[in-house]
Each structure stands twice: as C-alpha cells, then as structure tokens.
C-alpha cells in the first residue's frame, strides 16, 4: 500500500519572510488588512509501505537531507494515506 505524507516546510519563527511581506502589501492594495501572513511549501510524497510511522520517518529524513534547510526552515509531517 502507498501512504502519502504531507510535508509542510515553513520558515522558522523570527525568520524574515520577504515573500509574505510582499503578499501582505498586495492584499492591502486590494483592501484586505492582515495582522499576519506567512508562507509555507507543501509536498505530498507517496511512499510504498503499510506503516505510517515508517513513512513519516522516511519523510523526515528527506526533509533533513534535502527538502528543508535547517538554518532557516522547520517542517511538519502528516501521514494522510
């Protein structure tokens, strides 16, 4: 069976998010005043296994070795089937 892990990669707290700032500015131009806004990137990775735990362990290793940069990023994993 294939388990899909949803990987969400965000900037760590306190990291400058220039893209979010530009989007907030554009929203403001449209009349939407926002108290906060942050960006994140989502990957959905299908892994052939019966074990959600095993899938998440593999996804975490993918984040540590490629998908995230530990200097600026944190990530969250969710096995979603």
């Amino acid at each position: 069976m294939t388990i899909t892990v949803k990987i969400t990669i965000s900037l760590k707290d306190g990291m400058l998010d220039p893209e979010a700032r530009a989007i907030q500015h554009a929203l403001s131009n449209l009349g939407f005043e926002t108290a906060s806004l942050s960006t994140a990137r989502v990957f959905k990775v299908g892994i052939d296994t019966d074990s959600p735990e095993e899938a998440e362990i593999m996804a975490a290793e993918m984040c540590d070795r490629l998908l995230a940069n530990p200097v600026i990023h944190s990530y969250e994993l969710e096995a979603v089937k």
């Binding site: 990291m15 400058l16 220039p18 893209e19 700032r21 530009a22 070795r65 490629l66 998908l67 940069n69 200097v71 600026i72």
Partner: protein, 231 residues
C-alpha cells in the same frame, strides 16, 4: 597549475570565469561538466554563477546533491581551493562547505548592480592581494543572496576572520543603506574554517578587466594563483 570550472545544467557564468582564469590570468583551466566529473586533480575548483536546475526547491539545492559535489568536498577536505560565485555560493552553503544559507533578498526582487565591498580578511588564499579595509567595486546579480547564518553565527564568523567581504558604501562603512539584500552584518563573502573555501554572491569575474568597468575582482584570482604557487 590547473583550475577547473564546474558546469551544472543552468550554470551561465562558467565561460566568464574560464575566460578570466585562462585569458586574463594565464592559468590553464578546464570546463568540467558535472556528469563527467573530475578526471584529474586540480589546484582550484570554481563553482560559477547561474541558475542550476532553475533554482528549483532552493537556489543551489539540487546541484548540491549531485555526486560530483562529493568530489568537491573531498578536494576541499584535502586543502584544495574552492571558490563559489553567486549560484556557486548558494551551492557551497547548501553543501555545508561554509555555514549559513543565501536566501531571498530582503526586498524580494532580482538586483543587478555595482556594489562596494569591504575586504575584511586580507590573509586568506582568496584575498591576499588585497589590503584589509580595501573598498572594491564588483557587481552583484541575484534574487537569493541574503546571507543568513542563524543566531550568533554571523558574529562568530566575523570574530574568527571567516568573513572575506561585506557590503559597504564608497567610504567603507558597512551601513544598512549599503546592504542591498539584507544580509546579516552585511556579509557576502564567507570562508570555510580552514579558509580554503570562499563563497561570495558578488561576481569578481565580471570585474576583472578595465573594459568591464572595474579590475578589482582580478586580485581575487591573483590571490588564488599566488597561494597555489606557494602550496
């Protein structure tokens, strides 16, 4: 003496670097396609600018995970020189050859302009032809060039003499106004612990001939050549 310029899919400053090393500085230089790898040893490896793999995922992230980068790490571990310029700097940082990361500019647009740099360390293999405190003029061209090293790391790098260049004004003052991309402490040239790896966002190869408006970058290549001759 022989240098190599490493080419990835999307490198686009490879020919410029090769031209400066071979035609301007008179050092033999090979263009090495990443899939072919290194067929001999080199005194120095230059990772040039460009947009390897379309900057997918993060600038430099994909190129960093190619097998040839293991050879670059081994070359560096053995004391060989590695110079990463612009995309090459992003690759060098992603590879862990130096601490930190070059990420989206504070104002998220592509900046292509001449800047002033202050030479912070003039004793490294890449900067010995300069004098500490020199103000040099070299262009930048990037959107992901803001240096972030994490809490306390940037200051430690300064204290350890591992910062080669910082953005400054024409008088050598490193001010917020002279920091085009929001880099921590205006840092834009970082050395490895042993100082045989330098990564930098500005393009010294674009400032190595007077016809281009500045020769200030040429001293960087001369420094490398001098170091390799003595080694």
């Amino acid at each position: 003496m022989r240098f190599a310029v490493l080419q990835f899919g999307g490198s686009n400053c490879d020919q410029d670097a090769h031209h400066v090393i071979e035609d301007v500085c008179g050092v033999d230089c090979d263009l090495v396609w990443y899939k072919e790898g290194f067929r001999r040893s080199y005194d120095a490896i230059v990772i040039p600018g460009g947009f390897s793999y379309g900057d997918y995922l993060r600038a430099g992230a994909i190129a960093t995970r190619t097998p040839v980068m293991q050879d670059v790490r081994q070359h560096a571990a053995a004391g060989g020189l590695v110079l990463g310029i612009c995309n090459g700097a992003q690759i060098g940082a992603e590879s862990g050859l130096v601490p930190g990361v070059f990420t989206t500019n504070e104002y998220p647009k592509f900046i292509c302009e001449w800047v002033h740099l202050k030479v912070e360390n003039a004793s490294s293999p890449f900067t010995s032809a300069y004098t500490e405190g020199d103000v040099i003029r070299i262009p930048i061209a990037h959107k992901e060039g803001r240096y972030v090293a994490g809490e306390g790391v940037a200051k430690r790098l300064m204290d350890e003499g591992r910062v080669a260049f910082r953005f400054c004004d024409a008088s050598g003052n490193c001010t917020p106004e002279s920091n085009p991309n929001g880099s921590e402490l205006n840092i834009t040239g970082v050395l490895s612990e042993d100082q045989n790896v330098l990564v930098m966002m500005p393009h010294p190869e674009r400032a190595a001939e007077s016809v281009l408006g500045s020769e200030d970058g040429k001293k960087l290549f001369y420094s490398m050549i001098d170091y390799c001759e003595r080694r």
